[in-house]
């Protein structure tokens, strides 16, 4: 390994992308990350805890951010996306567009701009469940630790006010999108996943009833830096949530939606049941499943959750969610197969275990990789681009990290001059 090696480009700065980048860099490669959000960390930065240990993602992110800070071989662009690419393994030219943050490197993170800003925007971090100031630090653990001025207020008095409040000349309202061309030897594509648009499963009521949330929204609801400060409050009226129905396969394992299994949702819902059970002592959780898929050692976690008598696991796919006017909650209906009974359960909140769709179902790189019908990458194809993480298959964090570590070596093989 050495400086004569070519650079590796990692597209996507979620857990897969940053892992691939760090592992390659600690092995001696030079790496550049391109991330669309104003911060690194991707979906995991929006999670409350990981299964099965129920540990916070911030712990691993802190280590990984420290590894990036300490490693001069890693550079990155945030708020950026690839706009074109040409070439082949060993010789790629990639154009990226760096979108304006309207905050430059002078930002100290002091927060003066946010103090004076009166405009708000919906919080993308919290999936629109609340609002944030239009001058904002994306999250407490944000790396890079720099504020963002929202595009929405550019050209308004509010933006000017923010700029005037900054003592360090860090706010540049004239910033424009910039194009940067990178010459790299290898490309890792780690653009992650998106939650399925579960409003398409119309009988589950998402988008129609405020108390129907997706699993990713529930993570935010459970987070201490989330929209409710970690309190489980019913969106419709703010009442404390006592009962939650977790609806599995909300889109997954369904030929009308996502025919594949999203792999992680069973464990995610088991984990979610522990969130509510731990914080609301007299709460009850109901998990409606087809099969509980807790592979390998994760079985222990399933066994642990099963021991809580206030968590009910019911085999049966939910067929109907409707509003229950008496309680202000929701009525969940379906069949309880193993009990030979009907499900007719009134709950405060319904959480839909939404499936994963690969980032490559939405945006594919200009150079061809091989895909399956669902948009997952099945091979590098003629482009030689190396896929990593959830663009290949639904994966939990540990599997994504494992896969990205492997991708790092594949990239090193290519980037090393032959």
């Amino acid at each position: 390994m050495g400086d004569e090696d070519q650079k590796i480009l990692v597209v996507g700065g979620g857990i897969s992308g940053i892992t691939a980048a760090i592992e390659a860099a600690e092995t001696g490669a030079n790496v550049v990350i391109v991330e669309k959000n104003p911060y690194l960390g991707g979906r995991v930065a929006q999670l409350n805890q990981y299964f099965p240990k129920l540990c916070p993602p911030t712990c691993g992110l802190e280590i990984n951010f420290r590894r990036i800070k300490n490693n001069p071989r890693i550079s990155f662009f945030t708020q950026s996306e690839v706009i074109s690419m040409t070439g082949q393994p060993g010789d790629y030219q990639v154009k990226i567009q760096v979108n304006p943050r309207y905050v430059n490197d002078n930002c100290t993170g002091c927060g003066k701009c946010a103090e004076v800003c009166e405009a708000t925007i919906p919080s993308t971090l919290n999936y629109g469940m609340d609002s944030v100031k239009a001058a904002y630090l994306p999250l407490g653990m944000a790396y890079p630790f720099k504020y963002v001025i929202a595009e929405e207020i550019i050209g308004t008095e509010q933006a000017k006010k923010c700029a005037e409040a900054c003592h360090y000349g860090a706010i540049d309202l004239e910033m424009k999108p910039e194009t940067v061309t990178l010459q790299v030897g290898a490309i890792i594509w780690a653009t992650g996943w998106d939650p399925y648009e579960v409003e398409k499963v119309d009988y589950l009521g998402f988008g129609r009833f405020p108390n129907v949330l997706t699993s990713v929204m529930f993570e935010r609801l459970a987070s201490f830096n989330g929209p409710t400060g970690g309190k489980f409050l019913r969106p419709s009226d703010g009442k404390e949530v006592k009962t939650v129905a977790f609806v599995q396969c909300a889109g997954s394992r369904d030929d009308n939606h996502l025919p594949y299994c999203s792999g992680v949702c069973c464990l995610a819902s088991l984990k979610h049941s522990t969130y509510i059970r731990e914080r609301v002592p007299d709460s009850k959780a109901f998990i409606y499943y087809i099969d509980v898929r807790a592979m390998g050692k994760y079985e222990d976690f399933y066994t642990k959750v099963q021991k809580d008598e206030n968590v009910s696991l019911i085999k049966g796919k939910i067929a109907r969610v409707s509003e229950d006017t008496d309680s202000g909650g929701l009525l969940v209906e379906g069949e309880d197969i193993t009990a030979g009974a009907r499900v007719s359960q009134v709950v405060d909140l319904v959480v839909l275990a939404v499936g994963m769709t690969p980032g490559t179902a939405r945006i594919k790189p200009e150079l061809d990789m091989a895909y399956d019908d669902f948009g997952f990458v099945t091979g590098s194809g003629p482009s030689g681009i190396i896929p990593a993480g959830c663009v290949k298959a639904p994966m939990e964090v540990a599997a994504s990290v494992q896969d990205s570590t492997a991708a790092a070596l594949k990239a090193i093989q290519v980037a090393r001059r032959r």
Binding site: R253, K317, A319, E333, E335, I337, R342
Partner: protein, 386 residues
């Protein structure tokens, strides 16, 4: 609990009888949870679990044969549309019923229907001669090679006194629109859609063969039907037996005529109208917009959507042979529909299927709501304004 011994030879036979997707089922329970029987009380609601019925079929077990179990299925297609595995649940029901039909163990209420179809070619015990009685007083043309469309009137609207009004209004509306159509008459047989769903495959084949030979012999190329059930059968089941025609439901033809300006409804306001989407028009044939277009063309029409509409429409309870079976008052889907129409603020509930009319009107009367809500076929409402 008694230990059951699966008979896999029986399940093989069910598959051979048409339940080709029986094993595709992963037993998730979405079908049973989505079933309209879950919305009403009563025996069928308690006994009929479509998931469990298929499970028994998979294992070749007995115990699903009663009128309130396997024969409760109205083939409304809600479960089929939702099934995550693409299981043809109606096909499976048909296959299981076929197994029973072959050995003659179909519900008693269906036996006279089968008999009539065998002897008279229609399920209503009417003689073939009476098939055209509804045309009395009207000048309905007879189909000839110069006629564009063959108008096939559902047996129900040929024989049932109430339903004949539908046949008449459809014919009148077509005439107003200047459509070239004609009937064949007494030689026509029942399309066989419902009897096939009931499981009598041989009878269906016989009826279909007779119709196909008749229509082809007459030079039929295009068909207009009054019932979505006939539409389904002609369009989806006849082609593989040699019946290849363009088939339209009358609402499709009339919606086109409206668009083309060939008819323009006039007169007093029809007021608030709700539409019941028939299962066989909507879910089975994907026709949702044309009935609405017709309603909206009516003077003063105010379309009131029912809470369950379009692909989520609730069955009237008359499909799959249920129109010939008795469902107790208080346990009928049609009652829910009447209430929904009233809740929606409708004064008229229209639909476009003779079975639906039968079921809805009956419930409306039994519920004592006929003063508040008028149940009409869409053709009837339209014809009043032409």
């Amino acid at each position: 609990m008694e230990t059951k011994i699966p008979f896999l030879e029986v399940s093989d036979a069910i598959v051979m009888s048409g339940a080709e997707t029986l094993y595709w089922c992963m037993q998730c329970g979405l079908c049973s949870g989505s079933c309209p029987w879950r919305l009403v009380p009563g025996e069928a609601s308690e006994q009929f679990n479509i998931r469990l019925v298929q499970r028994m079929g998979q294992l070749g077990l007995e115990g699903f044969e009663s009128e309130n179990c396997l024969f409760a299925c109205t083939t409304c297609r809600t479960c089929v549309d939702r099934c995550p595995r693409g299981v043809d649940i109606i096909g499976n029901v048909r296959g299981m019923r076929s197994m029973l039909a072959e050995v003659g163990t179909i519900p008693g209420s269906l036996k006279p229907i089968v008999g009539s179809l065998h002897s008279q070619g229609n399920p209503w015990s009417g003689t073939p001669e009476k098939r055209t009685e509804w045309t009395e007083g009207l000048n309905i043309p007879i189909f000839s090679p110069d006629t564009e469309y063959f108008l096939f009137v559902c047996c129900t609207s040929c024989y049932d006194i109430r339903s004949r009004k539908i046949a008449k209004s459809v014919a009148k509306a077509l005439e107003s629109a200047g459509v070239s159509f004609g009937i064949i008459g007494n030689e026509e047989s029942c399309c066989g859609e419902s009897i096939r769903k009931v499981g009598d495959e041989a009878l269906f084949q016989k009826l279909a063969e007779s119709n196909i030979n008749l229509y082809n012999g007459k030079g039929v190329k295009k068909i207009i039907v009054t019932s979505p059930h006939c539409l389904y059968s002609f369009k989806n089941e006849y082609p593989e037996l040699g019946g290849n025609w363009e088939v339209y439901h009358y609402t499709e033809i009339l919606a086109d005529a409206l668009k083309a300006g060939k008819i323009s409804p006039v007169g007093d306001s029809v007021g608030p109208v709700a539409l019941h989407d028939p299962c066989y028009l909507g879910r089975h044939n994907d026709i949702y917009d044309q009935p609405r277009q017709i309603i909206e063309s009516l003077p003063g029409a105010e379309l009131k959507e029912l809470s369950r509409n379009r692909k989520n429409s609730l069955c009237c309870g008359g499909g799959g042979g249920r129109v010939w079976m008795e469902t107790k008052a208080g346990e009928r889907f049609a009652e829910l529909r009447i209430s929904e129409a009233l809740d929606a603020g409708a004064a008229t509930l229209v639909t476009a299927c003779p079975y639906c009319i039968t079921m809805l009107e009956d419930s409306c009367n039994v519920m004592g709501k006929s003063g508040e809500l008028k149940v009409m076929d869409l053709s009837e409402l339209l014809v009043e304004k032409l």
